[in-house]
């Protein structure tokens, strides 16, 4: 499940959620680390609360509660870091960290998964998603800091030429684009003709440790990359979310 949630369905590269904090807060490794930790904590705590307390709450209330829970987690942490430690946050972090509370990853993962599953499964999914986002943020932060400023964690690397454009949002989007392409390439190579031939007649059943919310196709499939299935999963989860917001069956959904 960890591999699937963090890598195969990476929230940033594959599901395209939480792009705003990733682009805005990964100008350097330090900012990326703090934002990743904040998102990780926010995801786990919100998923836990959603799974335990919010199953019977109407959907439109639930979505608002995710934001409130996020702010309740982030703001005290921000205050503690700022006034109780020696770490001085940059101005951009003071702007971005509270906004982490409203990142789309929390809403998507809680609404499509956490409220429909047991606590352990929901927290596992949140850990996987948070890890996936965090790793991508750290990679982006490191590359952008090295290429954009010629430093790593504020220490100069002595580079003669730096590319300040990489510290701008365009640099992050380029990294994310190549990252998504590399991930697709990695999984498509797993599904090479020889591998496909081996698994064609004897599909290996993989224990994902989660219920049918990731779609029945994924439970039976091997880890080889299936574009159609994955896009179907992504589309279904996003469509489900959109339909649930637009439809008026909140109470029915909340009681299910």
């Amino acid at each position: 499940m960890m591999f699937v949630g963090a890598v195969k369905f990476n929230p940033v590269l594959i599901q395209c959620v939480a792009l705003c904090p990733v682009v805005a807060a990964t100008q350097n490794l330090e900012d990326a680390f703090f934002t990743a930790v904040a998102i990780f904590a926010d995801l786990i705590i919100t998923a836990f609360i959603a799974s335990t307390l919010l199953k019977k709450v109407p959907r439109f209330v639930r979505v608002a509660l995710y934001l409130i829970i996020g702010l309740a987690i982030i703001c005290p942490v921000l205050w503690l870091i700022e006034f109780r430690t020696l770490i001085s946050l940059s101005l951009i972090m003071k702007i971005i960290l509270p906004l982490v509370a409203v990142n789309s990853a929390t809403a998507v993962h809680c609404e499509t998964f956490a409220v429909k599953n047991e606590v352990r499964t929901a927290v596992n999914d949140a850990v996987a998603a948070g890890t996936g986002i965090g790793v991508i943020m750290l990679i982006c932060g490191a590359i952008r800091e090295i290429a954009g400023s010629g430093t790593i964690l504020g220490r100069s690397l002595g580079l003669k030429v730096t590319l300040p454009g990489m510290a701008m949002p365009v640099g992050c989007l380029v990294i994310l684009g190549f990252g998504a392409a590399a991930l697709q390439k990695f999984f498509s190579e797993e599904k090479s003709p020889s591998a496909r031939k081996d698994t064609e007649h004897q599909p290996e059943e993989v224990e994902l440790g989660m219920d049918d919310d990731y779609g029945p196709e994924l439970v039976d499939m091997d880890f080889a990359y299936e574009n159609d299935d994955e896009y179907a999963y992504l589309l279904s989860s996003v469509n489900e979310l959109i339909e649930s917001f637009s439809s008026g069956d909140d109470d029915e959904e909340g009681e299910s």
Binding site: V161, T162, L163, P164, G165, M166, M168, V170, V174, G177, F178, A181
Partner: protein, 318 residues
């Protein structure tokens, strides 16, 4: 599949071959004005584009077509938009970005949604703004500032026969291959003969820039002088001929081509008035590229709605 690829490669060769023919004149003029410095920048950009195109194609297991001239063409366009004395790494970064980020990942020169040369130049401008816009004088009559810089500072040139000839022949301070108006007019004539329809965005672009500069002059002097300076400064005409005529990024519909050009012109002039860079035409082209497919989609939808309505009226009337 193979036939489609071959046809695309042949089309690419034809289109970018035309561009390379047109680029000969600005290249010769830049070498004439700036000498070895211009030649060095040209060689660096051409070699970088070619090597990057070849290497990235190998890395992603894509067959490299030597006849696909889009990479070389991109390198030449970038070189001509730079200053002659720009450090070599600026040209290298611009060309690598154009080829490896804006061209090949999208399927090559005939499929790239953004003009690769504009993307490469824009990235270089963002990274090395000081170097990119630090023009060298060469043999120019204006030894201190370019036309764009003087417009930015609000000063205006009194247009007379002498400096008009200098402007037409490109004997002014600016990017090394974009200032010669006569060469650009020669390219326009070439395009009229070879691909007349591709001139529509450029025409719309220049018309929009002209009207905008007449309505909102950047300096306090004569409006006509200001408009002439706007049109002749920087890479405006060069972009109209080489960036906006890119068939991959141009809308298919004839009217949309003009709209695309006008939109680019308005964005460019707004950025010239309010932006940080002396020459923002590449950014304007990239913004317009993003909207270019939408123009065709809106037109198609409008056509469908119109035809349905017409069909309904015919059915209702009997």
């Amino acid at each position: 599949m193979a036939d489609g690829k071959t046809a695309r490669s042949e089309k690419s060769t034809k289109v970018f071959g035309d561009y390379l023919v047109m680029l000969i004149a600005p290249c010769v003029i830049s070498v004439w004005y700036y000498g070895a410095a211009a030649l060095r920048t040209l060689i660096v950009c051409l070699l970088t584009s070619f090597i990057c195109d070849f290497v990235v194609s190998i890395i992603i297991n894509k067959q490299y077509y030597a006849a696909d001239l889009s990479g070389i063409c991109t390198g030449a366009i970038i070189a001509l938009m730079l200053s002659a004395t720009v450090p070599a790494y600026v040209g290298v970064v611009a060309c690598v970005f154009a080829v490896a980020v804006a061209k090949i990942p999208f399927g090559g020169g005939m499929r790239a949604p953004f003009v690769p040369a504009a993307a490469g130049f824009a990235f270089a401008a963002v990274c090395f703004g000081k170097e990119v816009f630090a023009y060298s004088s060469g043999r120019a009559f204006m030894k201190t500032v370019s036309l764009g810089a003087s417009l930015m500072s609000g000063s205006i040139l009194r247009i007379n026969a002498s400096n008009m000839i200098d402007m037409l022949t490109g004997n002014i301070y600016g990017p090394m291959g974009t200032t010669c108006i006569i060469a650009m007019l020669g390219c326009v004539v070439f395009l009229i003969i070879r691909r007349r329809s591709s001139l529509l965005p450029g025409a719309g672009f220049l018309a929009a820039c002209l009207v905008f500069s007449l309505i909102f002059p950047r300096s306090g002097g004569s409006v006509i002088s200001c408009a002439v300076m706007e049109l002749f400064s920087g890479s405006l005409l060069f972009a109209a001929v080489f960036l906006l005529t890119n068939p991959a990024t141009m809308p298919a519909n004839t009217a949309n081509k003009v709209v695309y050009g006008v939109f680019t012109g308005v964005v460019c002039m707004v950025m010239r008035h309010m932006g940080a860079f002396e020459e923002p035409v590449c950014f304007a082209v990239l913004i317009a590229n993003a909207f270019s497919p939408l123009l065709d989609i809106f037109t198609d939808r409008a056509r469908i709605v119109f035809s349905r309505r017409k069909h309904r009226e015919v059915t209702e009337n009997g």
